[in-house]
């Protein structure tokens, strides 16, 4: 490898490490400034002063702040986020347990968003300022503006309570819980692997409503962005060139113009996916979806700072990873970025 070729990965590594260190510093400081006493959360408010002091020393809170920070960094880097006060499990174990539920929901929602949003955005750009374009834009505007928790409640009221077409909250009906042994953590996949088709069907039904709502939100944003990128691309001269070459109009739109929109769209999709992965807090709460968002909400409500900070670091790391991945795709797809 030449020096030049090594420069790029080293630069990326330095950038990632610096950002991650900044993230750790911020989460550490948040943990110290919030008006929650971590010792009290462990020993309880009726503990004797000696017990309290002993716990404080055991937790390293008597040490200078910089020393505490270094201990915190070394713990985090070895995957030790502390123990959850709420569940009494190591936070990392809790996160690994709940994260697949969020991941499953985020992937389904993103697929729905991409499959619906991109064609809608293209259609809207090609038929710009027509009646159908206005309808599409209004649909998008609603999806982007309406509070998702309200849509979730409305969805539950209509499709579950009134029409009884879809199941209620949770990943699966209560009597199916705990039957399938987790392999991937994705209930749909695990039930398929186990050959439990009844549970698979039930899990898919449970997934439809929350995933569609998050997918609608994702679609709304994506269709607006796609429309705007497409309008910009369709006005470029290389599009006229393609037309005078004799390229069919559908190929001009789906091949030439969309091909160039794909580059900024990747960033939009990746960041949207990152947002969904961080745990759609409100959606997961409304649907009692046992993912990262619900875990974070419960931890916050119970002043479980180890869990809250652990989740924050995981969310930050996800965003760093997603950004890195989209930069990588950018370089593959756009020769100008190489």
């Amino acid at each position: 490898m030449t020096k030049q070729a090594l420069k790029q990965p080293v630069r990326i590594l330095v950038m990632l490490s610096t950002t991650f260190l900044g993230l750790l510093l911020i989460t550490f400081l948040i943990g110290r400034v919030v008006p929650i006493d971590p010792v009290l959360a462990v020993v309880g408010d009726k503990a004797l002063p000696q017990v309290y002091e002993k716990a404080r020393i055991a937790m390293g809170l008597d040490l200078p702040l910089w020393k505490q920070f270094f201990i915190y960094i070394s713990n985090v880097l070895t995957g030790d986020f502390g123990t959850s006060v709420l569940t009494a499990n190591p936070v990392i174990d809790d996160i690994l347990r709940v994260f697949p539920a969020t991941f499953e929901l985020a992937i389904t929602a993103t697929v729905i968003g991409v499959l619906a949003g991109i064609p809608l955005g293209i259609f809207s750009a090609v038929k710009r300022d027509s009646f159908l374009d206005h309808v599409t834009r209004v649909i998008g505007l609603f999806g982007y503006s309406l509070p998702i928790f309200w849509l979730g409640l409305m969805g539950l009221m209509f499709f579950y309570a009134r029409l009884d077409l879809l199941p209620g909250p949770g990943r699966v009906d209560v009597f199916y819980e705990g039957i399938v042994t987790p392999v991937t953590g994705f209930l749909t996949l695990d039930s398929m692997i186990a050959g439990e088709w009844e549970i698979f069907r039930n899990a898919v039904y449970h997934l439809i409503l929350p995933a569609s709502l998050l997918g609608y939100y994702s679609m709304a944003y994506l269709s607006r962005m796609t429309r705007s990128f497409m309008i910009e691309q369709l006005g470029q001269e290389y599009i006229l060139t393609a037309r005078v070459k004799g390229v069919k109009e559908w190929k001009v739109i789906w091949g030439h113009a969309l091909g160039n929109c794909a580059i900024p769209l990747i960033t939009v999709i990746a960041l949207g996916f990152g947002t969904l992965l961080e745990g759609s807090v409100l959606t997961e709460t409304v649907f009692a979806w046992p993912g990262l968002g619900l875990y974070l909400t419960n931890s916050l409500l119970n002043a479980d700072m180890n869990a809250v900070l652990g989740c924050t670091i995981v969310v930050g790391a996800i965003f760093l990873g997603v950004n890195l991945f989209s930069d990588f795709l950018y370089k593959i797809m756009d020769p100008r970025a190489r």
Partner: protein, 258 residues
Amino acid sequence: MISIENLNIFFGHGQTRSHAVKDVGFTVEKGESFGLVGESGSGKSTVLNCIAGLLTHWSGHMEIDGVRLTQTRDMAFYRKVQMVFQDPYGSLHPRHTIDRTLKEPVKIHRLGDANQRVAQVLEEVGLGAKFRFRFPHQLSGGQRQRVAVARALILDPEVILLDEPTSALDVSIQAEVLNLLQDIRKEKNLTYLLVSHDLAVVCHMCNRLLVMNRGKSVETLTRSQLKRGAISEKYTKQLLIASKGYDRTAIDQFQDFE
């Protein structure tokens, strides 16, 4: 080769509809180079886009090589008529190599022998084989415009529509590209319809020219008439003065022509 009569072009609908080109007409003989001249907004590029089939809201009569044009163009039309655009930065697909850009029309028109054609056309425009697998951003403006010319030539057209092909280039490169276009026309007996706001470029490239203002024809001139200054219309005289460079006294006397 090209016959245009009573061409009217419209943009928009209803109350926002604008009449961009009004009753324009001209003819271009086979092998001739004809210029459309006028200031920005005069409708010259609009006429060119309309002939190329990029605009559909028009009325009038247009013929190319005896074939009457309708609102849609078929593949045979694009074999016969090609176009070179103004912006060498924007007219090439940014993520396609030169090779891919040049091969695409060959494949669409099922001409075969794509490799041979690409190599030959690159030679014709003065770019060697080393440019073949580069991306547009790896070329200079002049080189890109040569690729744009090569892209138009690869289908062996009879008519080339040139939309200000050198206005986005440095002055030193402009002459190179203009001379290249002249040489190719003579060699292949091509018919050019050139749009430019630069009278010097049109005088260098064209046998005859039509002056346009605000979507209307002003007058048709030959190159020698233009050189001699044998101009009858006031607007054309004003355009000629303007093309000679900035002159405060002359500008103060300029009129606004409807």
